[in-house]
């Protein structure tokens, strides 16, 4: 089947098999592998994207459900060719190691800061608890969120 949707501000069409997840369609059909496939069952947050402005796990949305909707992936968060402040903060603070969780965490952090511009540590903890990271122990991810919040 064919789906038509807006991804990162562009109209996109994709020919999909109806059983495919949105994550598979983004990664394998639309050339957007930034959203990651760590668990594909909604536990790790690595595939976090914004669908009509709402934070979702792309692995838990069928590609067919996304037909007609508006998506933002990690590839679409930079502003006018410049890195998003959250991306800058993650790179600067050492919040990136293997980096597999990073795209999902960046989208989740952007979502958090859009709702709460100056989150407390407890609010960060709760907001990002759905994003698993196996490398950093989260300390530098907290640093990144605090730095990004302080700069905006």
């Amino acid at each position: 089947m064919k789906i038509v949707l807006r991804v990162n501000g562009e109209r996109r069409e994709a020919e999909i098999w109806p059983g495919e997840s949105l994550l598979y369609a983004l990664r394998e059909r639309m050339g957007l592998p930034g959203s990651k496939n760590a668990c594909e069952q909604g536990e790790c947050g690595s595939c976090s994207v914004l669908m009509d402005g709402t934070l979702v796990c792309a692995c838990l949305v069928l590609a067919a459900q996304a037909d007609g909707h508006e998506l933002v992936t990690v590839e679409g968060v930079s502003e006018e060719g410049r890195l998003h402040g959250v991306q800058e903060a993650f790179a600067e603070t050492g919040a990136v190691q293997c980096g597999f969780c990073t795209p999902g965490l960046i989208v989740a952090t952007i979502d958090l800061l859009a709702r709460k511009s100056d989150p407390s540590d407890d609010e960060i903890r709760e907001a990002l608890s759905g994003n698993l990271c196996r490398c950093t122990g989260y300390a530098k991810i907290f640093d990144a969120v605090r730095l990004a919040a302080a700069r905006t």
């Binding site: 098999w17 059983g19 495919e20 990664r27 394998e28 957007l32 592998p33 930034g34 959203s35 990651k36 496939n37 760590a38 668990c39 594909e40 069952q41 536990e43 790790c44 690595s46 992936t73 990690v74 590839e75 930079s78 890195l83 991306q87 800058e88 993650f90 790179a91 600067e92 050492g94 990136v96 190691q97 293997c98 980096g99 597999f100 969780c101 990073t102 795209p103 960046i106 407890d122 960060i124 903890r125 709760e126 990002l128 608890s129 759905g130 994003n131 698993l132 990271c133 196996r134 490398c135 950093t136 122990g137 989260y138 300390a139 530098k140 991810i141 907290f142």
Partner: protein, 747 residues
């Protein structure tokens, strides 16, 4: 195709905190991980796996699967072109199972199809006739049961011969008189469950046939050249026709030392003449790599009233699962560190690893030292209590120092600042208890809102851990680096550095670049792709060795290039180049005596690193819920090449030890894994991790370039016993098993 484009880097020198080379591409999503690769005409591979822990295979019928839509190939053991088995230490693992399967999830057949779902559906149409056998599942009984392998791989291998069935390795370290008595003795029995590396990037990769019988494999791995050396014989082609290229690695932690899709992808690609991609699901990933050995440990510590250890006796039993992987080295490492970083003149340490039909185990961060440190530190706390001594003071009284000997008889010749690390960690101020009226997210049970403070007890614990840096026991361990210095049209010089050291997230690419910039005193350093095609082996990104070894090799290659440049008058003409490769080796090690476990030359380990840690916990003793409140640690790091990255390793390594302490365990029932998902196998989240205050103790390692040491493993080794020590303080329970379960801490 290159998955990691050559790029110019602007970074600092050794000792400066600098942004990771790959931080921006990873933050924008453009960094290509092994699961992100695509190629024209690509097929998807899928692996059919055994539903049994132990069974004979009578037949495999592929006829129906072959007719399924989109299917291009179905392959079984009959289609393996060369050697039928491979392995890191012994070639005991079938490429695809023949005659029998020995663990749940063992690869049995392969399918290549146009779409991954077509490949899965075709695999479901394969008909395998199994005859289930009684699985060997109890590590304590394995050596008395039927052998699960017909061969006894370790006999005559320079190890102590143990003819019992299913023994992978049995070793003994005998020092002084193990029968000597002390004024006080404490005994204990300890158990560890199976921990999983749980890296986030699933096993994946792309195999591309070159049209001339050779293959390019783009894969997430820890050691490119040893992959090649295992793949080529099984494909039946020369090594030169197998090129392994490092694709982006989504974490490793030991779990990518062994092969996953490399051979399977290559077989399907060569057979179909099409590129073939594999991406394991998370469930499959639990079958796709080896795990940390579960262990049972019996220990007795004898000491005098003044706290000085006089004798330590330890027996360690490890379950290696169905195939050896790196079990022989884990067995030895567990024995090496069984006494902790303490001086003791009399010791008897026995360490045995057995084959079973449980999930295969091998390398995971800490590599044997995790298991023995958990037991050793619990024993030290027990001893402190028996002596009514402060646990920190007891450790200081026994701290190993240069000039002392390990139980193997190896004298500490390099840096090992045990006492300083203990003192530094102990001096970090511990935060005051927070009043109970607080946001529930900061209470045990968290947002579950299970307590307002009633039943919550605080505990404080302390532990010390140490581990070797580098490969041991006579292994010829080396790293190659190649530097090509070339002049552009304006005669400006650029250095292109080739090193096959696997960047697994730990930051070795920065180490390489920072070393080159330091040695060549130029910013014009370009990193070439990590591949077997352009440079000799770097060895494994394992054993906390890569920083030391890569900086040694890059330093040597840079110095050779500098010397040559000087010989040519200090400049190159446009278009001219110098291209030199150098091999770096650390000080030589030698095997242990098979009967006594004593060193046969100066050393069996290269060097050591030590960490000490204090942990504060709160336990809801009514519900058995835990919150780790705070961690303070000091770690011996030699010289921090990139301090920001070193702190990151300490924090991340601590989290993995916390996971083993509190939640992480692969559960099995009769050899079958029952929790192969992130829903059921839990790893620490933001809600589980406390703040970590870390101090770096920089005492240069005399034998290492710039005085560096590895930093990745000590925090994982030490954090499990530190947290357990705090839990014991809070509950008064013995807590001899990790991960701790709610029942264990409910009072």
């Amino acid at each position: 195709m290159s998955t990691q484009p050559t790029r110019k880097l602007e970074l600092g020198k050794v000792g400066e905190s600098v942004k990771r080379v790959d931080a921006i591409p990873k933050a924008t999503g453009e960094f290509a991980y092994s699961s992100d690769l695509v190629d024209a005409g690509m097929l998807w591979g899928h692996t059919l796996r055994s539903p049994h822990a132990h069974a004979l295979i009578h037949s495999i019928d592929i006829s129906q699967a072959l007719t399924m839509p989109g299917v291009h190939a179905v392959m079984t053991h009959e289609d393996v072109p060369g050697d039928k088995r491979y392995g890191l230490e012994f070639a005991d693992q079938p490429v695809l199972a023949f005659d029998r399967v020995r663990y749940f999830g063992e690869p049995v057949a392969l399918v290549a199809a146009e779409h991954p779902e077509q490949a899965r559906r075709a695999a479901a149409k394969l008909v395998v006739e199994y005859e289930p056998l009684e699985p060997v599942i109890d590590m304590e009984r394995a050596a008395d049961q039927e052998p699960i392998h017909p061969q006894h791989w370790t006999l005559g291998h320079g190890f102590r011969d143990d003819p019992r069935p299913n023994v992978v390795r049995d070793m003994r370290i005998l020092r002084g008189d193990p029968d000597v008595a002390g004024e006080v003795a404490v005994e204990g029995y300890y158990e560890l469950g199976i921990q999983d590396q749980a890296f986030l990037g699933p096993e994946s990769g792309l195999a591309v046939p070159d049209g001339e019988g050779g293959i390019d494999i783009y894969v997430a791995t820890q050691w490119l050249h040893v992959d090649r050396d295992q793949v080529a014989p099984c494909l039946g082609i020369p090594k030169e026709q197998v090129r392994i290229h490092l694709a982006g690695v989504g974490g490793a932690f030991g779990g990518r030392e062994d092969l996953s899709m490399q051979l399977h992808g290559a077989m399907l690609a060569l057979h179909t003449s099409r590129p073939v991609k594999f991406v394991y699901t998370r469930e499959e990933s639990f079958f796709g790599h080896v795990h940390r050995h579960p262990a049972r440990i019996w220990a007795e510590h004898r000491a005098n009233r003044d706290g000085k250890l006089v004798c330590v006796r330890v027996r360690i039993l490890l379950d290696g699962g169905a195939y050896a992987s790196s079990s022989t080295a884990v067995t030895s490492n567990a024995a090496s560190f069984a006494c902790g970083p303490y001086a003791v003149e009399n010791a008897l340490i026995e360490s045995t690893c057995v084959y079973t039909n449980n999930p295969p185990c091998g390398a995971m961060r800490g590599f044997g030292a995790v298991q023995s440190c958990f037991a050793a530190e619990a024993q030290m706390d027990k001893l402190a209590a028996a002596l009514e001594l402060d646990p920190v003071e007891l450790r200081l009284r026994n701290a190993l120092a240069p000039g002392d000997s390990l139980p193997t008889g190896q004298k500490i010749t390099g840096s090992l600042p045990v006492a300083e690390v203990i003192e530094r960690a102990a001096a970090i101020p511990v935060p005051e208890p927070e009043e109970m009226l607080r946001d529930p997210i900061r209470l045990p049970g968290g947002a579950g809102n299970t307590t307002r403070g009633e039943g919550v007890r605080r505990g404080v614990g302390f532990a010390v851990g140490f581990k070797n840096i580098g490969y041991s026991e006579g292994f010829d361990d080396y790293t190659a680096a190649r530097v090509r210095l070339f002049a552009d049209a304006e005669a400006e010089l650029t250095a292109e550095v080739h090193c096959a050291a696997a960047e697994v997230g730990q930051g070795v690419t920065n180490v390489i670049v920072q070393t080159a910039r330091t040695e060549l005193e130029t910013e014009n350093v370009v990193l070439a792709p990590h591949t077997t095609a352009s440079v000799d082996s770097a060895g494994s990104a394992s054993a906390s060795r890569m920083t030391w070894m890569a900086s040694g090799a890059v330093q040597a290659a840079c110095r050779a290039v500098k010397d040559e440049l000087e010989r040519r008058g200090g400049r190159l003409e446009p278009g001219e180049e110098i291209d030199l490769e150098r091999i770096y080796r650390h000080p030589r090690t030698a095997p242990l005596d098979p009967e006594t476990g004593q060193v046969t030359d100066e050393r069996s380990h290269v060097a050591y690193a030590v960490a000490a840690m204090r942990a504060v916990v709160e336990v809801d003793v009514e519900l058995g819920l835990t919150r780790v409140v705070w961690i303070g640690t000091a770690q011996d790091v030699g010289k921090a090449v990139n301090p920001q990255a070193v702190y990151g390793q300490i924090e991340g390594g601590t989290a993995q030890g916390l996971g083993l302490a509190l939640m992480e365990e692969i559960q099995t029932r009769n050899g079958l894994i029952t929790n192969a998902s992130f829903t059921d196998y839990l790893i620490p989240t933001t809600l589980d991790m406390p703040p970590v205050v870390a101090e770096l103790v920089e005492e240069p390692e005399p034998d290492a370039p710039y005085g560096v040491k590895g930093v990745g493993e000590p925090p994982t080794v030490v954090s499990t016993p530190a947290i357990l020590s705090a839990l014991r303080d809070a509950t008064g329970r013995e807590l001899n098993r990790v991960p701790v379960r709610p029942d264990d801490i409910c009072l």
